[in-house]
């Protein structure tokens, strides 16, 4: 599951990084305190794992925060890193979620320059196909919002890449365990 893809006007067709395909999704429940993120990031950096995406927000109980991390790297070492994170005093729990057991969503905003009505119509068609929304529209530009599973966002990106994209912003994925599973 690709989570980080740089698209710039200079580089329209980036090759997907093979190590990102099948990226891991971790969730953490942690104390909501300054410095906690620093501790967690150090565990990953020291073992040369890249954090491809990171979403942090306050939990329902404001004493805690929820994290979703998209991680790429060797799965063998990852289970050890999960234990090293769990060991941190500020971490209540840390789990890896498999795609079949969890709902994963993210949101992307894409700014496309559209000079001329023809291009604009094409872009809007693509966006509609993916259930996206137009959130900003000017004579020369359009910002679209696409949300869903990361691979859906990726697919939309792949189609839009042929247009004049100037900026993209992705939230990074958030995860929730299905059924009675714990996130």
């Amino acid at each position: 599951m690709a989570t980080k893809r740089k698209i710039t006007t200079a580089d329209k067709k980036p090759a997907p990084r093979p190590d990102l395909i099948g990226g891991h999704t971790l969730s953490m429940y942690v104390n909501n305190e300054p410095g906690v993120l620093m501790r967690i990031c150090q565990v990953f950096a020291r073992r040369a794992y890249n954090i491809d995406s990171l979403v942090v927000s306050q939990g329902r109980d404001p004493r805690f925060s929820r994290l979703t991390l998209g991680i790429s790297g060797d799965p063998a070492g990852l289970s050890q890193i999960i234990m090293q994170c769990t060991k941190l005093i500020d971490v209540i729990h840390c789990f890896e979620h498999m795609p079949q057991d969890a709902v994963v969503r993210e949101l992307a905003m894409i700014k496309v320059m559209v000079k001329g009505g023809e291009k604009r119509t094409e872009v809007l068609q693509i966006v509609e196909h993916f259930g996206g929304k137009t959130v900003d529209l000017t004579e020369s530009s359009i910002i679209v919002r696409i949300e869903g599973a990361s691979d859906k966002v990726d697919a939309a990106m792949r189609l839009l890449v042929t247009y004049d994209i100037v900026e993209t912003v992705r939230t990074g994925k958030v995860v929730m365990a299905r059924g009675e599973g714990i996130t």
């Binding site: 150090q42 234990m83 090293q84 060991k87 005093i89």
Partner: protein, 586 residues
């Protein structure tokens, strides 16, 4: 005429503490005996509280903050209890890093309190402001930057709890000056609040894991117990002895596990690993079962991981789940406190028939004994061997890092826990002498010997002053080869004997140096004098004594397994052929 004054009963004002006083009171409540430290501006309120709060806490002014950490470390290793380090902000705090890292690597409980700039100056590069919270995250078990005066007692108590339970480690508390100086209006008994920390769980051992372990153990023919520091921390000496004798199973220990199983016992094989005994390493290669109790399979004991115990099943007991599968993938893992786990295991295992296995190992003991050349000058091994004899192996021995450390590990056999104090994981030069001071404070009636190289001793020798002031009868043994001997050994063996950055020319006259501090000094130059001079040192108890032993300059430590090589590739003598540079590890 004096007017009659109304005699109002003077009401004692309600005791108003400031944050620093509340903190020191909490430390006293927790039973802290010693604070080692070095003063400075940001820590002034805390130093003042040491004077204004009545308590039994004793403060020791060291000569360097690193020394303070190693003293607290030595104190903890000799007692199992933590001591406190108290230093100022910025450079004071910075000087503690190596000491904290040393404690973290070897799971040593320690509380480090650092003064800090006032809160509103943080992040503004104010005088002596350093982000010590951020700097120390990778080298502590946990740390705090205190933001509320009223949190001080709770945080202090949490720090203590975290440092001393589960797998122990250092905890740092950074206290801005305004926080320590402000009035304390909170609850001195505020409860600790650590929802992400549950060390009690380590006493619940999974029954199935014990069953699985017992199944493998009961089927073994050539078992080997590997005893680590974890067994010592959990106090599992009796269970370990019971297990070894019931199974008729030989026991090897790690550098930090020395003493948890008596090294003089007939089942003991001594230390394993890079400079371990040949018979311990042979046992690892030939056994069919390794029962690892509280060792983290450090790279210096396993050598090439793929080859380690390749003929053996492996059972790994560890309190820290993140040690499982890290270096070695065990067949059975038992997570939890070693003593609790062994108690359960002992209900499930029977005696084993291992006569031929033990005979085989005895053969190795005879074929590859630890020995040294009696000719060719004064050898470190000889001095250590004599010291061992003269103290009946009962002294507390601390070491620095290098050749002398490995020889001390080989020749000073330990029969008890907490009597061997050596920096293992970090391999910190400069550790040995201050650690001995800490151990001597903890155990005033024991003989404490600091075994140092001439290199490492010079890193923290300023603490002679500390030892002298407190009249601590520490025996400082400087095994002087005028070289950074261990590094020179590697250069001789793997770098065509090209010496680079290892010649300690410019060494002082150590005896004169000691005398300048008011410390007794003794020189040993000839093998024939060793016993007499050591006896003289042992008989002197009015203060520290430094023994400078002029040793062979270019001796090599054997056995040796080159870093990253398989245990089978052990060298027991100077190699005749050129060696490849080790690449697997350092």
């Amino acid at each position: 005429m004096a007017t009659k004054t109304k005699t109002t009963k003077k009401r004692k004002p309600k005791e108003q503490l400031d944050g620093a006083q509340a903190m020191i009171k909490t430390l006293a409540d927790l039973g802290v005996e010693y604070v080692f430290g070095y003063s400075g501006g940001a820590a002034l309120p805390i130093f003042d509280a040491l004077e204004t709060v009545k308590s039994d806490i004793k403060f020791v002014l060291t000569r360097h903050e690193q020394g303070a950490c190693h003293m607290a470390d030595g104190y903890a290793r000799a007692t199992g209890k933590p001591a406190v380090v108290l230093v100022t902000s910025g450079p004071g705090a910075g000087n503690t890093i190596t000491g904290i890292m040393t404690a973290q690597m070897d799971s040593i409980p320690m509380i480090i309190i650092t003064g800090q700039q006032v809160t509103w100056m943080l992040g503004k590069d104010a005088f002596q402001e350093a982000d010590i919270f951020g700097i120390t995250i990778p080298v502590v078990k946990h740390n705090y930057l205190v933001r509320e005066t009223n949190d001080l007692p709770r945080i202090t108590r949490e720090a203590f709890h975290i440092a001393t339970t589960g797998r122990p480690g250092p905890v740092l508390i950074d206290v801005p000056k305004d926080i320590s100086q402000s009035p304390f209006t909170g609850d001195m008994n505020a409860e600790i609040d650590l929802p992400g920390y549950n060390p009690e769980a380590s006493y619940e051992i999974d029954d199935q894991d014990i069953e699985d372990a017992a199944l493998i153990i009961n089927a073994a023919k050539r078992p080997l117990i590997l005893a680590g520091h974890g067994a010592m921390i959990s106090g599992a000496e009796m269970e370990l002895m019971e297990l070894a004798t019931r199974l008729n199973c030989p026991v090897t220990s790690t550098l930090l596990g020395k003493g948890v199983f008596p090294e003089t016992h007939e089942l003991a094989l001594g230390m394993l690993g890079m400079h371990g005994t040949a018979y311990a390493n042979k046992a690892v290669c030939e056994c069919d079962l390794i029962i690892n109790i509280g060792s983290r399979f450090d790279d210096r004991i396993i050598g090439k991981a793929e080859e380690f115990g390749k003929n053996a099943k492996i059972v790994h007991f560890d309190i820290d789940p993140s040690e499982m599968n890290k270096m070695i993938t065990p067949d059975v893992q038992v997570i939890g406190d070693a003593k609790a786990a062994l108690k359960k295991l002992l209900k499930k295992v029977d005696s084993l028939e291992t006569t031929s296995w033990l005979e085989k190992l005895d053969g190795y003991k005879k074929k590859f004994p630890l020995s040294y050349a009696k000719q060719g000058g004064l050898r470190m091994q000889k001095v250590l061997d004599e010291f061992y004899e003269l103290t009946n192996g009962e002294a507390i021995v601390t070491t620095d890092v290098g050749q002398h450390q490995m020889w001390a590990a080989q020749f000073y056999k330990n029969s008890e826990s907490f009597k061997w104090i050596s920096s293992g994981g970090a391999g910190t030069m400069g550790f040995g002498f201050p650690a001995a001071i800490g151990a001597q404070f903890a155990c005033p009636d024991e003989t404490v010997i600091a075994v140092c190289g001439d290199g490492g001793f010079q890193m923290t020798l300023c603490e002679i002053a500390t030892a002298c002031i407190h009249k601590l009868p520490v025996k400082i043994l400087v095994l002087n080869n005028h070289y950074l001997g261990m590094v020179r050994q590697w250069q001789e063996m793997f770098f065509d004997n090209r010496e680079s950055g290892v010649d300690l020319e410019g060494n002082p006259d150590f005896v004169k140096l000691a005398e300048a501090y008011g410390c007794k000094g003794i020189n040993i130059k000839r093998p024939a004098d060793v016993r007499k001079k050591l006896q003289e040192a042992l008989a002197y108890n009015d203060g520290p004594v430094l023994i400078n032993a002029e040793c062979v300059k270019t001796d090599l430590v054997f056995p040796m397994i080159p870093a990253g090589a398989a245990l089978e590739d052990m060298l027991t003598e100077r190699p005749k052929h050129k060696m490849a540079k080790p690449i697997g590890s350092t």
